[in-house]
Each structure stands twice: as structure tokens, then as C-alpha cells.
Amino acid sequence: MTGEKAAKRAVKAPTVQTGPRPPMARSRRMARPRTGEAPEVGALPETTAGPGAPHILIIGGGGTGGALAHDLTLRGLRVTLVERGEVTSGTTGRHHGLLHSGARYATTDRATAIECSAENKILRRICPGSFEENDGLFVAITDEDVAYEKEFLEACWQCAVPTRRLERDEALRAEPGLNPDLRFAIQVPDATMDAMRVPLRFFATARRNGAEIRPFTEVVAMTMSGATVGGVRVRDRAADREYEIGADIVINAAGPWAGRVAVLAGVKVPVVADRGVMVAVRGRHCNMVISRLNAPGDGDIVLPQRAMTVVGTSSRVVDDPDDLTAPADEIAAMLRESSVLVPAVGRAELRAAWSAARPLIGGSGGSGGSGGASGAAGGSRGAADASGRGLVREWRCFDHAADAAPTEGFVTISGGKATTLRAMAEATADVVCRKLGLDRPCQTTDVVLLPHTAWYSA
């Protein structure tokens, strides 16, 4: 759809699930019983992809790794994914749960906005029943907000994000919890998701299709042959033992930890950890996603989550992605700013305050920064400047064979948003197939994923 058409039509009615449960996805391959024991040194998992299929090892069990495992299994490759903790325990599970319409980034990061707009529709299609499809409101309160409208609407129009203007009274009828001093609001097709359960659908479907997913399995070393990565050495924390896994290509999908993983292969990737603090208060004070109609800032988004209301978020670059405290001043700022949008948030009882480390691409420089691979995949986007807010939410796929000091068999995917996990996986799988000389198209835009509960099926 063109941006023009999108802007002219009203926000399309999201469909409410009123009938029986959505049908289970039909896997393209037969289910395979899971094996309890990890294979011994050098052994590969037996998959339906066939013993001759190339074996891809993914490091990192976040949304990106899960979506990538799903994509690669659909393309007939053997996949093993290792994660040091539980799946989705790094950055993925911690986000506030916004399924972006793209509106948030329309003025500042057009490429991300366009991609979010497209992925939003795809995810609703392949993850039915996983979203609160209540749309979002960008609320104007101050003169500055009002002045921002023209730029915002124009940017949304250019990014194919449908919008609809609600006058003050109309907005208050829909969301009585809004600040009554609001001037008007712009409705956009934002939605909320369960930050853990949407990615679990990718993991569940990937495993059903033959991927081997190993949580509590931490990479301790790369097995290198000269400048070629041939696999990894891992420590299985649950079985208390170390073993090696061989692979044709190793993919670093470790999010903000990608830099640390890359170092094991002697590679540098320009990923920085950007700490965002979030706050949850008791009570569901709105049904829609409420954002401030202005440039992105701290505490400018309020969204419902079950019987809570979640406020996001701040942006501070930190040295260590494991150093995830939530400073009191940032919590206070978050509550202060969000109260301007939804006053009840400031009066509500605090349920939790936490932080997550976003993986941001810290500049196009550095060895491996060529990202040549993703150029072919149409994936790598944008450049970046130096500070948390200034860094765009781009993602990049680095084929380290294209580095100044080439490393074969090693690819890094990092950056991006939860909303763009599928697109990141598609571009990375394209890179993998190209490296292997395979011509296998992506199928993930249409395969409906298994429900999250399937992740826990025996």
C-alpha cells in the first residue's frame, strides 16, 4: 500500500477474536521428539532437514534468535540455538510490550518507521490472538505539542502509518484517564503484546520444525581454524558439563552482548548497550497506547499490560549490559512525565521498576562495520551518532567475511526493535543462504506460528 492511500483511509478496524481459538499452525514438517541429552563433542543434532543440510548455530535466545531459528528451519537448514539463561531473559522479555505502528519513529527514523508499519501488519497475521489491538493515541497537551502535529502527520503519511485525528472530547470519551487539558490526539494502529509470549511462538514453531533450542547453555569459546569459525564450546549449566558444537556458520544474535560474543572470534562489532528504565504501577489506567505528540523523550509512553500500567522509557548508554539498575531519579522522572499524559499513573502504587539494555548500533565505523552482507539483503539501515537517543533504532547484519580482517563462518545481527524481529531474521537468513550458495526464499511472512503454550509441550 502506498503512503498516500494509507494516510487517506481511516485506521483499519482491528479484528477482535470473538470466535473459537485461532487454528493451530500446521507445521510444514513433522514433529520430532526432543532428545533429552545434548550430543557429545562435535556431534550434530539430527533434524528433519536431513543429515546433509548445513548446520547453523545461533548464539542468543532473544526474539531475534528465535525468529531466525524459525526462518532458517523453514529454509531447510539444521539449526541449534544456545542461550546462557532462559530464552527471552535478556533484553527481549523486558520491553514495555509495544507493537509499533511506526508512528513513534516517523519523524526521527523514517526507515525504522516504515519497517515497523509493515512488520506490525505481518505480526498480527502470523501471531493471531497475541495482541491487544486497541490502537494508540499521540496526545497533544502543550503549544509545542500542537505545533508538532504538522510534522508528525506528514512523517506518518510518508511512512505509510495511518492516522486519524480525535478532538479533545472524543479522545476523552475513549480514554477518560487522559489529562483533561489535552488539546487533541492522533490515533495510530499501535498495539500491545506480551514481550515474552510473542517470541515464544517463534521458538515453539522453530523447535517443532526441527530446531534444537538449548537454554542455560552458555558459549565459553569459539572453535576457530585460522580465521574461520567452525563452531562453539558451550557450558551446559543444567547438566554441569562443557562440550563443543560444530557449525557451518555461527550467528551472533546476542543483542547488547553481541560485542562480547564477537570478541571470542577476535571480531569487533559496534554495538552499544543503551539502558532504558521502565516502571509498572498497579491498575489499568488506559486501554490504548498513550504517547506524547512530540519528539521521543523520557517517560513519554504509557501503556496497559494486564492489570498494570507500564511507563517507558529512558535512554542512557552503559558500559556493561549486565549492569541493569533502575536509578531512583530516572524512575521519578518517568512517573512525573507520564503523569502529564495519564494523571492517575502518578498517584498509583508502584509495582516494579526495572531496566533493559537495548542493543544499538554505535556507528557505521569499526572493523566489520561494512555490513556488506546486509546491503544485499536490503537489511542494514542508517547510520548513527554517539548518544542513546541520537542513535537510530536501526539494525545491522554483519558478514564478518567482509571485514577489513576477514573472519569466515561468522555473522552478527544486532540492533533493531522487538517489532522488527522477523525482518531482522529474514535479512540474516538471506545472508546465510547467500554465503552457502543456496537460493531459498523467506517464508516467514505467511506461516502462522504455534501458540506460545506449544513451547512448553513435551
Binding site: Q187, T192, M196, N287, R306
Partner: protein, 295 residues
């Protein structure tokens, strides 16, 4: 090899002056600042053995450990510098980061929404991310154990497969119509406001249930609460199979009304009330059936 002797992971060098301790009970040296900003309750919680340390107070955690190489579980003690307002999960992650990277613990959202970090703290089922250290009794170690009545993966991580095997057949969709502000008129293009179910599938209720402790076949409170949700808001779903599930021998009639499930639920689901509701529905169905046969 003892889990204590595992070297720090190479993937993420641990930037800590505190090397992994050789003995589980050896306190870690504190390198914190001199001034304390801790609330008094937290300083007391640290106990006399550790409270005098400079900087943020240390709190002793007694953590249950087990992995596939060990015959039985044991406790390891860790002294952890706690943050003001910190939670049990914060402390567990701090242990994993600075003292023992082999600690296996499940977690994801950090704010009581995903339900993965259920554990028993001082013999009570809680979400570790929701258990504020300031709320725990002072002066004695904080005991952390995995959930009961469920299979163990390792240390504090339980395998949720059995939980979902009971939960899934109830067929509860993850989203429902929002009841808050039901009288409110949604904006154009939004037909009905939707919201996620309260149940976060954490398994605390199953762990706390005294019936589940003695009867492995009992379907358990979470599955029955899910069944009651479907009965409450069927949205086109056929109720016969759901009520049949609830009427099975190891279902609603096994419940002893101990109410432990409702007491520990972190998400206000009230499985105990749900079980009573299901019993009424089943009884009413039977009465209707008898009347039909009598007619």
C-alpha cells in the same frame, strides 16, 4: 567438578573485584562506597553478621542448588550487596553475575507480567521479581528454593511442561474483552477494547496447592481457573468439553478449599473462587440432566 569451581564465563568477562568464592559460605569482599543510603529496614534485614560492612548492606541468601550431576539438592550461601528497593530476583542475578555464573534461574520481564521467575522464598511461593527485600524479615538468611510439585531443570528453574499439559486443555485464549471501562466508547476502528488475561501461567498456585503435593494427577488450580474463565466468557467456544474437564475425578472435586492458590497468586486470579464457580456450573448441569431424564 563442583559448581563452585567453574571459572567465569569467557563470553562476558565479569567486571568484579569479587572473584568466585571457593567456599559457598565465604562472604564476598565489599568494594562499595562508605556512605550508606539504605533504609533502616534493609540494613536490619542484612543481619548482625553482615550489616557492619561498609557500603550497601549485605544480605545472606541460602539458595537451593541441584543439577543433573548431583544426587540431591543442597543449599549454598551467598552474601549479596543489595540495592535499595531491590528484589530477590535482583539479588539472584547479582549472584549469577559476580559470584557464581552457574546459578540456573528463570526470568524474563522483571515486573510480574511474564510469570517465569516463580520460586519459594522463606517457604512461600512468590515471583522473585515481585519479592521486595525490604518486605522480608530481618536478621536471618533469605531461603530461596524452586517451586514444588513440578519437575526441576536445575537449581531454581522448574520445567513447566507438566503445568502446561494441565493448563492447555482448558483452552483459554490469552486475550479477552477489557472489563475496565466497558461502558467507555472505543474510538473509531476499535470495536472492543481488549486486554491480556490476568493469569500469567507462573505455577505458584500449583506449587502451593496441598492437594497437588499428594496427588500428582490433580489438574490443579491454574487449569481450573482457566476453565472458569472460558465458562465466564466463552466467545463462541463450546463449553461442554471444558465443563467435562472440570468434572473429571482429579478435577474440581479433589480441591480441599485450602485457598493457598488464591493466597499466593501474584495476579489476582483467585483460582479458589473459580473452582467454586465451576462446581456450581457442574452441579447445575447435573440437576438439569436429571430433570430431563425424569420428564
Amino acid at each position: 567438578m563442583s559448581p563452585r569451581a567453574i571459572r567465569p564465563k569467557a563470553a562476558a568477562p565479569i567486571e568484579s573485584t569479587a572473584a568466585p568464592t571457593e567456599l559457598a559460605t565465604t562472604p564476598v569482599e565489599s568494594a562499595g562506597p562508605i556512605e550508606s543510603t539504605m533504609p533502616i529496614e534493609l540494613a536490619e534485614a542484612a543481619g548482625p553478621a553482615t550489616a557492619e560492612r561498609a557500603g550497601r548492606p549485605n544480605v545472606r541468601f541460602r539458595v537451593s542448588r541441584w543439577n543433573k550431576r548431583l544426587k540431591k539438592a543442597h543449599f549454598d550461601d551467598f552474601d549479596v550487596e543489595v540495592e535499595p528497593g531491590g528484589t530477590v530476583l535482583d539479588a539472584l542475578l547479582e549472584i549469577r553475575r559476580r559470584q557464581d555464573p552457574s546459578l540456573v534461574v528463570r526470568h524474563s520481564c522483571m515486573h510480574a507480567s511474564c510469570g517465569t521467575c516463580g520460586v519459594r522464598v522463606n517457604d512461600r511461593e512468590v515471583l522473585a521479581c515481585d519479592a521486595k527485600l525490604a518486605d522480608l524479615p530481618a536478621g536471618r538468611p533469605i531461603k530461596v528454593q524452586p517451586l514444588a510439585n513440578q519437575r526441576l531443570v536445575a537449581d531454581l528453574a522448574t520445567d513447566m511442561v507438566d503445568f502446561y499439559a494441565r493448563f492447555e486443555p482448558a483452552g483459554m485464549p490469552p486475550v479477552r474483552a477489557a472489563e475496565v471501562g466497558a461502558e467507555i466508547e472505543p474510538p473509531e476502528a476499535v470495536r472492543t477494547f481488549m486486554r491480556f488475561e490476568n493469569c500469567i501461567e507462573c505455577g505458584l498456585c500449583l506449587s502451593a496447592c496441598p492437594v497437588a503435593r499428594t496427588n500428582r494427577d490433580y489438574i490443579g488450580p491454574a487449569a481450573l481457573a482457566a476453565a472458569a474463565r472460558v465458562v465466564d466468557e466463552p466467545r463462541g467456544q463450546e463449553l461442554g468439553p471444558v465443563l467435562a474437564l472440570a468434572a473429571e475425578p482429579d478435577s474440581v472435586w479433589r480441591c480441599h478449599d485450602a485457598m493457598e492458590c488464591t493466597a499466593v497468586c501474584p495476579s489476582a486470579v483467585d483460582p479458589a473462587m473459580a473452582i467454586l464457580t465451576l462446581r456450581r456450573h457442574i452441579a447445575a448441569d447435573r440437576v438439569r440432566g436429571l430433570l430431563r431424564h425424569g420428564a
